[in-house]
């Protein structure tokens, strides 16, 4: 077991009195329930009554930020696209595609950042404003880290292009320069502006030579005396060799050119060409990669990684990925100069420069308040086949572990749970188990929501959950006295026991009221009637009523008899059925044949003989009268049918 790297953070539960009482807790799927106990700090029982409050402590707070929901939803689409394109990634275009995916993720972060920024500007509530600003800075840090990972890991830029990418990275994330440029260029004579040289320096530090030269030409035209000096500097800046993205020049060619250019700069500096102008002299020193000269501009660079990239640009333009770590470490040390200790962001970037992917992910997990970032980044790196060797001592692998954490967070949200489903789907080992546990805990407020949850379970053959959802809905309907609804839910779940229960309710209602409710359902059961015996009986019995109503007596009689002889009808219902036979027996024309009449008689005798005790016990006359009447009707029918059948046969 690894030791935890940092102390676990302390979470203060506002409102809970943890100073004098012991707290107790229970784990939930994504949150913890906390409450105060009767026990005091020292373990002795404290007489004072504790507050009867339960606190819900949520882990993944960012999930609840309204603006971030855009991030979760939009990135869900990208994530799904990435999983779909699994096969295509094998080819050569695979890398370009992965870089595109990475850029898509970043543009979502940026869009979200803009929204958050808008919200911060438009709100008047200072507390809310602070909250938004914090989020903006977190998002911008995430984007910064993601971009660096994209360059180093996803694209895996090689020596040459690597530097260009790093320059882009620095330019993209140091954005206060643009406002300064606008201010300088907007003034009447730019070269007299107090920030003029700052802007030129920034351009040079960021390797934006054309812009720097453009500004310098303004100064030159305003200052004809030092024209020559400007020309030389301008020429040096113009001639500076830079790596190209295309493969037209080899690295050695570039190094050679660069060496020449470097020597030329050196010569001018030693000549004292720029001695009369300290600004230009320092620019020339920067061009030479003089560390002290660059460090003097510390204020303009603001961060150590800017310093690193500038230093690389002017002293090691063909830096190889593996050499980065040395320069990065020394740049950070030089820049911070022992005055301040590195912050978490610095450590994460440093880990990235050292190609310690796992360290990056680990640090991010600790520092960031959401799982979104690490889950998506890890998944992307996994698709780049960079993480395969790494297995955790728990769970399956890091990608899956982080995705599970993220998706569990989504599931704890009242509305975002739907997104979580797809993430679980792409966790081969534990995804299914997690989904099964989480999906059962979704509150089913409306049938529509239940249908959506049900669809998710059915698509994944989660029979157990399907049954439980249908049962919950059927119970709800039953409680609301919606027998029809309850029955259709249990039919959907193929829950025979519950269908029997509901059928019994229908039959009970019938024997109490003498008519059926919910005819539209019972008449239309179709093949689902076969789900349970009782349901079959209900359907058939209703069919008997319909036939009777339509005056199709012969068919009705046959059906009625079958219900008893085939033991479809429950014994408790036989008396009702026999009573139903009465009017048929009393019809003018003979309906039951002799054989059928014998069967009926047998049924009646079975019934009376089957429970003689009960018969005696029931002292009410109605029951005995009924039996008497039936016997009489049966006897009369038998007499008539013998006559009829005799005459028919005789004639």
């Amino acid at each position: 077991m690894d030791e935890p790297d940092t102390e676990p953070p302390l979470v203060v539960v506002p409102g809970a009195d943890s100073s004098s009482r012991q707290l107790c807790f229970a784990w939930g799927p994504a949150e913890v329930l906390v409450c105060e106990t009767l026990f005091g700090r020292a373990g002795t029982e404290n007489g004072a009554p504790s507050s009867s409050r339960v606190f819900v402590v949520r882990r993944d707070q960012d999930i609840y930020i309204q603006t971030l929901r855009k991030l979760f939803n939009e990135s869900h689409g990208i994530f799904m696209g990435l999983q779909r394109s699994e096969e295509e990634l094998a080819g050569k275009s695979g890398k370009a595609q992965l870089v595109q995916v990475s850029k898509n993720y970043r543009s979502v972060i940026r869009a979200c950042m803009e929204d958050m920024h808008q919200a911060a500007v438009s709100t008047r509530d200072p507390a809310l404003q602070g909250q938004y600003s914090t989020q903006v800075s977190i998002l911008s840090a995430m984007e910064l880290i993601w971009n660096l990972c994209e360059i180093l890991f996803v694209e895996a830029a090689t020596a040459g292009p690597l530097l260009l990418r790093l320059l882009d990275w620095v330019r993209l994330h140091v954005c206060d320069v643009d406002s300064m440029v606008r201010e300088v260029l907007g003034s009447e004579s730019p070269s007299k502006h107090k920030l003029f040289w700052n802007v030129v320096d920034i351009f040079v530090l960021q390797g934006r030579m054309d812009e720097a030269r453009h500004l310098l030409s303004k100064e030159a035209s305003a200052n004809p005396t030092s024209m020559n000096m400007y020309k030389i500097l301008d020429d040096l800046m113009k001639k500076m060799p830079v790596p190209s993205l295309s493969n037209t020049q080899t690295l050695t060619e570039l190094e050679l050119k660069w060496q020449h250019w470097h020597e030329e700069c050196q010569r001018y500096l030693q000549d004292g060409t720029f001695a009369s102008n300290p600004h230009m002299e320092s620019i020339c020193k920067i061009l030479l990669g003089d560390e002290d000269a660059i460090l003097e501009k510390k204020e303009l660079m603001t961060t150590w990684y800017h310093f690193l990239v500038t230093r690389l640009l002017y002293s090691h333009p063909t830096v190889k990925p593996m050499e980065l770590r040395f320069y990065a470490q020394s740049s950070m040390d030089l820049f911070l100069g022992g005055e301040s200790s590195p912050e978490p962001l610095d450590l994460i970037l440093m880990a990235a420069f050292e190609f310690e992917m796992h360290q990056v992910i680990k640090e991010c997990s600790i520092v960031l308040s959401n799982w979104w970032f690490v889950a998506h980044l890890t998944d992307l790196l996994d698709h780049c086949k960079l993480l395969q060797s790494h297995n955790l001592y728990f769970g399956s692998n890091m990608r899956e572990f982080l995705l599970l954490e993220y998706a569990s967070g989504l599931f704890s949200h009242h509305s975002l749970w739907q997104l979580g489903v797809d993430y679980f789907d792409h966790c081969p080992e534990y995804g299914r188990v997690y989904l099964e546990l989480h999906i059962e805990r979704i509150p089913l407020s409306t049938e529509q929501k239940a249908l959506k949850v049900l669809r998710i379970c059915e698509q994944r053959q989660m029979h157990e959950q399907v049954r439980s959802i249908c049962k919950i809905m059927a119970m709800k309907a039953l409680r609301n006295n919606r027998l029809g609804s309850a029955l259709s839910w249990s039919i959907r779940a193929k829950d025979a026991a519950f269908a029997t229960l509901i059928s019994d309710r229908f039959l009970k209602d019938y024997s109490e009221r003498g008519c059926f409710s919910d005819l539209d359902l019972i008449d239309n059961l179709g093949p689902s009637m076969l789900l349970s015996d009782r349901l079959t009986f209900l359907g058939k019995y209703r069919e008997f009523h319909r036939l009777y109503g339509e005056q199709r007596f012969a068919e009705a009689a046959r059906l009625l008899l079958t219900l008893m002889t085939a033991h479809i009808a429950p014994c408790s219902f036989w008396m009702t059925l026999l009573t139903d036979a009465l009017p048929l027996l009393e019809q003018k024309e003979v309906i039951f044949s002799a054989e059928q009449t014998y069967e009926l008689m047998r049924c009646l005798e079975d019934l009376t003989a089957g429970n003689p005790d009960k018969q005696k016990f029931q002292d009410d006359d109605i029951e005995t009268t009924k039996v008497e009447m039936l016997r009489l009707a049966l006897a009369r029918n038998l007499a008539r049918v013998i006559v009829k059948e005799g005459t028919v046969e005789g004639s």
């Binding site: 939803n73 529509q448 027998l483 259709s488």
Partner: protein
């Protein structure tokens, strides 16, 4: 290039509806309303689809929809319908039906009228017991609502109490309702039945019942052909599109395999009913186009001769019968396009008006397509 603009709105959208155009309007529709579901705080929002005029200037700017105003709504928005230019009727999962008024001069929304617990289980007066109102349809000033309680309510926009209530109209859940004629309504339920109710009759029973054969697959949505009122389309739980001719038979005329999961809404194009739109839980939105075969047929006319004259006569007859009712789907060409490839989460609602389509999804986004027939 399709002109679709999207906006993520941080709430799952259950309904989208265009505001009806005034009779003499020539412009395409601009204003639409959305309702959300499954949120702790659900909202009704009014949006402007974005000015198309602005897009021309720099080419790529399509003006995404922007929010005009919104108001909190108690419970999930289950269904929604514009009563007129200003008023929207909203059905809630709490069983309440509310009319909201959109004040266009100062862009605000306010609750205009509310029928609390129009739908309820067991007892209207107990505190819990509200039953979700699943569908609403308006024909100003009349409003008909249906719910999970199997009840049908008829309201008038200006009257406090229900004009008519049919308790236990259906033993299962009623999923949707639409007007067939001014006095007749159509409902679909969760056991695959389509019922016609004549509101003039005082009897609390449907005047006609149609049903799917075989497994009673629940029906989720219903729409009627705008010109030929006997043609009705419904969508079911298995994603199947059924076309019914209510003049004959008790079974659908044709069953068309469509989506892979619940079909949540079906709409004939209001002015061009050869086109039909359906959306589904599987995240797809389909455009069904039967106009191709109609447009191809007139080519017979140009050939001249007696026999062709006869042929053209018969084809004209056929097009009057409508392509939707043809019994042989292979004979009639029907072009079907999925308008959203690669979407994974449910498309809960759509609405078409003129050349414009608006739809909303569980991925918390709304989409506006302004050039449907481009």
């Amino acid at each position: 290039m399709e002109d679709v603009s999207a906006k993520f709105v941080s709430q799952k959208i259950s309904r989208t509806r265009w505001r009806p155009l005034p009779a003499a309007a020539l412009q395409p529709p601009d204003i639409f309303a959305t309702g959300s579901w499954d949120n702790e705080d659900n909202r009704i929002s009014i949006w402007s689809a974005g000015d198309l005029g602005n897009a021309g200037l720099n080419g790529e700017y399509h003006g995404e929809p922007h929010l005009l105003c919104d108001i909190q709504h108690n419970g999930d928005v289950m269904d929604m319908q514009f009563l007129d230019q200003e008023r929207i009727v909203v059905a809630s999962s709490t069983g309440t039906v509310t009319i909201f008024r959109h004040h266009q001069n100062n862009q605000t929304l306010s609750a205009n009228h509310r029928w609390d617990k129009a739908h309820y289980h067991v007892d209207q007066d107990t505190s819990c017991g509200g039953a979700a109102c699943t569908g609403v349809v308006c024909n100003n000033p009349e409003i008909v609502t249906v719910g999970e309680d199997g009840r049908i309510n008829l309201f008038r926009a200006d009257q406090k109490d229900a004009v008519r209530t049919i308790d236990n109209a259906d033993s299962s859940t009623l999923h949707a309702v639409t007007f067939l004629r001014t006095t007749e309504i159509l409902t679909v339920n969760s056991i695959g039945q389509l019922k016609i109710w004549d509101l003039r009759h005082q009897r609390n029973e449907p005047s006609q019942i149609f049903s799917l054969a075989g497994d009673r697959v629940p029906l989720h949505c219903v729409d009627r052909h705008p010109n030929q009122q006997h043609i009705v389309a419904t969508g079911g739980q298995d994603g199947m599109l059924s076309i019914w001719d209510i003049r004959q038979g008790t079974m659908p005329v044709s069953l068309l395999n469509a989506h892979e999961a619940e079909m949540w809404e079906v709409h004939f194009h209001p002015s061009d009913p050869d086109h039909l739109f359906t959306c589904s839980e599987d995240g797809s939105l389909w455009h069904w186009d039967t106009s191709t075969n109609v447009s191809e047929k007139p080519s017979f006319l140009h050939q001249g001769g007696r026999s062709t004259a006869y042929l053209s006569h018969s084809t004209i007859n056929q097009s009057v019968v409508s392509a939707w009712l043809s019994n042989d789907p292979t004979k009639e060409r029907m072009e079907i396009t999925n308008l959203i490839p690669n979407q994974t989460l449910s498309v809960n609602s759509l609405d078409v008006l003129g050349p414009c389509l608006v739809y909303g999804t569980d991925a918390e986004a709304i989409y506006v397509n302004r050039q449907l027939f481009a």
